[in-house]
Amino acid sequence: MSRLRLCLRLAARDVRRRAGETALLFTALAVAATTLTIGLVLHGQTAAPYDQTRQRTNGPDVVAALFPAPNQTVTPTDRARLREVAAHPEVSASSRAFPTTWTSIEAHGISGVAEVQGRDTSSSPVDRPQVVSGRWVGRDGVVLERAFARAMGVSVGDSVQLGGRAVPVVGIAVSAALPPYPQLCTIGCILDQPGWFSAEPGLVWATRHRVTGLDTPQQPLVWFQYLALHDPSAAPGFVQRYDNGGPPAGRPELTAWQDIAARQAEQLANERIAVAFGGTLLVMLALATLVVLVGGRMSDEVRRVGMLKAAGASPGFVTGLLLTSYLAIGAGAAMVGLAVGRLLSPLLVGISAGLLGHVGGTSVTFTNAAVVFGAVLGIVVLAAAVPAWRAARTSTVRALTDSGHRPRRHRLLVALSARLPGPALLGLRLTARRLRRAALTGFSVAVAVCAGTVVLFAQSSLHAERGNAGGPADPQVAQLHTVTTALTLLLAVMAMVNLVFVTRSTAVDARRVLAVARTVGVSPAEAAVALGVSQLVPALIGIAAGFLAGAALFHALSSSHPTTPATAQIVGLGLLTVGITVALTAIPARWEARRPIAEILREN
């Protein structure tokens, strides 16, 4: 028991002794845990909002749509086929068959395409869209689906040009019968008008009378009927059995509610990809931070191990001590990460306005928590394993005199730098002394710039799409933009934490070299510039690599033709990164340069 108490006391003192390092390590792990939590919350949550909407609007189990043959219209005889499906024994209830067509819509200077359903003014047994603002359709106006209304910037009381005629908007509603804007068309649309090819229609509810007045030879009426089954889970089987009869040829096309749910989930799937992408980068950065941290304090750690062993501590005790310190930091960071992730996920993982309910911040389950704890603790155990392993196999005397890795010699670089001005010469040689550390600086910067570049490309492409089409905004893209921006901020914070770590380690490592350089006439300002150059070289490489990687990544992920951001934006991103790197380097550089040379040489 006393050994355990001693172990805990020593671990607590070690954490206090290196409060700054501990805080940075804690931050790195907490950010990684936060991202992991958001990723886990999002995973498997895609169905929740749709299910809630379906329940609250009495959503259909099967959607039957009767499309006319080319250049023809749906006749009353054809519509009898819809009634046949509705009369099937597995069907428990159905709506009335209603006409639908597609027409132009314009409001506040935004033009789009509307899928207009001709509905009864009374409530339907299947699919009762929930009016969230205003009232249900009447002879005097139309109702817009919420996601579409937001994209068009329309609210109750506004007037829209529907098929060239001004119509007041009397309500905004939500339904689970069709996927919300902009995925409405995945069930089927007739968009034969010029310029409509790439249009994403939104849903508008109107009276039957208004819809029948909108049809044209190019946009004939399509008839829909919503069905409820005795066993909703059997909907895919029902659809499959019906479709076995071959191509429609005058038969209604059926879609199961599970397919509609899957279409709706695509939006969250995109966000999930973004979170997975950002999360992977964040975890990589967290690992890089750990490598820098562990590498930076390795010789100190091994010397401490030597002292403990000299005082009689067994390798087992030393291992336990190292693990206790790291595990305490890891556990704390995991808890903070879980809490922050739980708070952030509802903000990042916004659901479509076309659905009710929420993804919720309450979905951090026990399993999620266990995964986050397991991952973070796994990382810190790995970090503690290296010094623990060295502690176990290094003799006490060697451990006490351990001075870390000797800097490497790079002959070509030494020769080339001899032609440079003093600060550049020193800076380049400082970079070359610790190439792995320089690589980590470059990597951290590259990851942050890569994410920043993706956001710039996304913004430019979104801007270009809106500008060209003058159409409604795509809420998916906007939401994705929010997620990527938030992730970029997290990545930037993490990259800065890394830079602080690396710069500090470099400053400590370069202390003696720069002090000796000062004894032969290098001024403190030149010494500070040299340290800056040593960070700037890998940072510049990181900026270039990050931009290229970001551009390539966006090209690979983007389904449409990406728009290159303005040169000013790209240069701005680069300059911002350089500015942050210089600022973060200037602090330890100035601090070291102000110290008397004699004091530094005495310490080293």
Partner: protein, 244 residues
């Protein structure tokens, strides 16, 4: 004649009140150009601190430091950096060579930092390494050199910008007898060549090779004596040692 180095009422204190340590306490000293001075005294008497203050490596608590007729104790760091680059060379007990650079690269470094073209710096460094008897080791790295060899490289580095004053802090402190003799021979040659030398040591053999010996105790100068004709005494002392 202008003194190469002059200090007046120089003091360096650490701590305060009861914990006050007077590392250097009211020291006056003048070293004419071309003179070789050794500063001796027991460990902790303030010898190294005095040397660091004279070379601008540390700031005094009070007093004045003049080098080549310029007052440097209150000078900016930039001015003091220029002083170290143009007028003062340093030799340390533990060499402070760059591990990743070869001997010749270590020697040429101050010249490069002073803006000397790289070829000229290299030529100067090679010439100096020949002077200190290290021509055959110019491509060796510090880890491949003995203590005495490292100190020769360090002395060559200190001389590469042709300083007026060479300050050496226990230059033989980490060396064996043979290596010490080699370094003393080198200093003797420098002295004979008119180089101003201020050497901190507690090695009696090193002390005996100078023109003048200054003794310190508890931060203060307690003795300042001219030594007998160094031309003979140095030769006598150096003949005792064996060639490195």
């Amino acid at each position: 004649m202008t003194a190469a180095v002059r200090v007046l009422a120089l003091a360096k204190h650490y701590g305060e009140d009861e914990a006050l340590i007077r590392a250097v306490d009211d020291v006056d000293l003048e070293v004419p150009a071309g003179e070789s001075v050794v500063v001796v005294g027991p460990s902790g008497c303030g010898k190294s601190t005095l040397l660091q203050l004279m070379g601008g490596l540390d700031r005094p608590t009070s007093g004045e430091v003049w080098v080549e007729g310029r007052r440097v104790d209150g000078a900016s760091e930039r001015m003091r950096a220029r002083l170290r680059r143009d007028h003062v060379g340093f030799v340390f007990q533990d060499f402070h060579l760059m591990d990743e650079l070869t001997a010749v690269e270590n020697v040429e470094l101050p010249a490069l930092l002073a803006g000397t073209p790289s070829r000229q710096a290299r030529r100067g460094a090679i010439a100096l390494l020949e002077d200190v008897g290290m021509a055959d080791r110019e491509r060796h790295r510090p880890a491949e050199l003995s203590g005495g060899q490292k100190q020769r490289v360090a002395i060559a580095r200190a001389l590469v910008n042709r300083p007026t004053v060479l300050l050496a802090d226990e230059p033989t402190g980490n060396l064996d007898s043979t290596a010490t003799t080699g370094i003393l021979r080198l200093f003797d040659r420098l002295r004979a060549g008119g180089q101003t030398l201020i050497v901190v040591t507690h090695d009696q053999r090193t002390a005996a090779t100078a023109d003048r010996m200054v003794s310190m105790r508890d931060g203060a100068l307690v003795e300042d004596v001219a030594l007998p004709s160094t031309a003979t005494s140095a030769a006598d002392i150096l003949s005792v040692g064996t060639r490195e």
